[in-house]
Symmetry: C2
Subunit: 473 residues, 2 copies
Amino acid sequence: MAAKPKSRMELIASLAKRRGFVMPTSEIYGGIGSSYDYGPLGIEMKRKLADLWWREMVRKHENIVGVDTAIIYHPNTWVASGHVEGFTDPLIDCRQCKARFREDDLVERFAGGVKGADEPPLSADGKHIDPAHPAYALAPCPHCGTKGSLTAPRSFNLMFRTWIGPVEEAGEQVYLRPETAQGIYVDYPQVQTTARLKPPFGIAQIGKAFRNEITPGNFIFRTREFEQMEMQYFVKPGEEIEALHYWKDERHAFWRDACGIRDDNLRVYEHAPDELAHYATNAFDIEYRFPFGWDEFEGIHNRTDYDLRRHAQHSGKERDLQYFDDQTRERYLPYVVETSAGLNRGLLAILLDAYDEDEVEGNPRVVLRLDPKLAPITAGIFPLIKKDGLPELARKVYQDLHREFDVFYDESGNIGRRYRRQDEAGTPFCFTIDHRTLADQTVTIRDRDTLEQPERPKIDQLTNVLRDRLFAK
Amino acid sequence: MAAKPKSRMELIASLAKRRGFVMPTSEIYGGIGSSYDYGPLGIEMKRKLADLWWREMVRKHENIVGVDTAIIYHPNTWVASGHVEGFTDPLIDCRQCKARFREDDLVERFAGGVKGADEPPLSADGKHIDPAHPAYALAPCPHCGTKGSLTAPRSFNLMFRTWIGPVEEAGEQVYLRPETAQGIYVDYPQVQTTARLKPPFGIAQIGKAFRNEITPGNFIFRTREFEQMEMQYFVKPGEEIEALHYWKDERHAFWRDACGIRDDNLRVYEHAPDELAHYATNAFDIEYRFPFGWDEFEGIHNRTDYDLRRHAQHSGKERDLQYFDDQTRERYLPYVVETSAGLNRGLLAILLDAYDEDEVEGNPRVVLRLDPKLAPITAGIFPLIKKDGLPELARKVYQDLHREFDVFYDESGNIGRRYRRQDEAGTPFCFTIDHRTLADQTVTIRDRDTLEQPERPKIDQLTNVLRDRLFAK
């Protein structure tokens, strides 16, 4: 029986594990569902993507500054933001076997009808389970098959709870932040004052967030622990629509031009009015054509003054949260446009987009066509063979370069195999030190994509060669 | 009445808040005790310190690679490591007023004796409360004063608990990692294999850890949420002592030479046998002379094969955790030497060490003498006055430099005041564009420490000027 061909996602997950990009968390203990660790290649690539974003957002914009807020905020933050009340998923339990289901999964399952009933047990709009519908008494539990054993949908909060203080009864209940944005809103008055910012200005943050998702999945697309790269842009009311469109275009360009994702795998999707989150009046998603379909990895939202207004009400610090313009003597609550990207999702999109299979000299090859700026290893450094003084010379080249660049020395196995290993790691260049190097100090540069070796620069030119290629785009 | 002079720690905390280095978390809601956010200057400095460490440890060492493990590990990890059982603080409650105390605080309080008793209510070695001692019935609660109301000491775990899954009864209990090290131990077989490493080799990680401390404090020295910069070095048994001494010297040199901490404020402290943690047989602390006394901000420990052995036993993956040397055909559990630094503590030591007050032209000045590599802003760029085309030219200088360097444009207020602001931020250089710049394209460079302006380089030389000064050390 022939093995089922692997999906593109399976191929990436397998390569990621095999080469140390991404691997399941605590695997010797059987792992934790949908939780991943980044290995040596993965962490370098994630660092480079995060640094590229930081450079693009913070360093290049005079009016954008960074912050880094704690993961555990004051719990009233989440009352004000609406998360305590509203950040929930409706779940349904089976009274018989205690299995638990998401309401939307059961809506989908029962939409085609239930055996013995004329109509599906759904609300009039077809979007919810109607527990009072007579057909619901005939609906079977998808796990044990018992009819009429399913409860009405109940809301469960997706925030992880914990307690400050040594015992839970006596401690203060707090939450792991489900998004980084609220920390920026709460700190905005201090940041604005200490950095002497005037609207429009932005506050950027990269950090972890946690959601107790019921159905995580699709490799690193949806995990309970993830990283966000967010910028909250504070504008004078009335200037938010212009800012929204500006940032939508900027962010789209970042993924396409700076990260090298192919244009036909990217699209900008505008939310219809009935798709908007409660805090937003306009929203664009930047979507990637994932193997499971188009899905978002960055959102650009007009959050209006919703969050700041809520924090003003709940903290009683109305005046502190207003901006006072000492030129015009106006005092107002700024409007906020956010650009909120998933670092892990962005990484996944880039890996999927870069994955390719081709043939080299009649042999199949797996290659990651990563942008040189994002490749974990910028250059492999190889002695052609393991004698005649070539390893010593190659190691000297490595020593010259490794303070400034991510270079990798490898002398094991034949040269073709060493190239293949770097192809799988996405390394754009390999420098090979051969017998001619002994004579004239030149090395070959092998290009991952063209497979050509068009030039032989001298060893002392390699720093400039790498600088040029890294900053070419 | 004269105000009490501020301690050095108060001065730093006040400067940190005023200038946006570090501020209390969620302050509009009254904050969370001992929890801090990093503002625009703080995050840049923290990023630079973390990058410097990464470059020093990972990029410069061919045999050290990075990882980034999840914050929530498989819970058996903490059973194996001993944290579930042993990571505890003994606490004592007052039955009357419900106040809670650390045992060691009460030992100190009662060591001098208790009114009406001949002896203090302590164990024979004087290190613990003896609840059976007759004097304990006379010991008053330090909060409400009731005698005999204090319970026996009870152990409380310092790990934050939470649950995966939507409701706690049905979910899996997990912990926020109290240290990053265990994630490296658990992943080591996969990292070693995928990166083809041979002992000695190291695995490095920077990330958050969480401890439900009973008495956090001293600004950012001890907080419940903190960041570690750790490297776990895997060696062949018998080579651990040499590695321990090598890394102790390397890490000491890092803080002194790369970060610029003064030598007389640094010391290396060797743990006496009775001070060692359960997992270590030799340990050195790198200590800083904090305002509250010498205290550690990095530990270099010989953890032997303790952790790997425990994980081998608890996971049943004994063979996976052994290293097989295919040259010598030996199979062994490596020994581990760790270098574990507190990123926040290191930052605090550097800030304290850099803080200085002097006089400039008869006026008092606060200045942070930060190493240029670690200063949040590398150069201020100022037009001397706000007319004659100087702002336009200064802004052009800013545009030329801001992609590569952290530069800051400022045209507001008189030039002396602008210098003062940069002195407080630790900015090592300021470039001023004046009328002579219009004629000959040269600018002044004002040095934060010498206050001298010895040269006038041309605008197009400024990139090289900054590169030279950043990499001079």
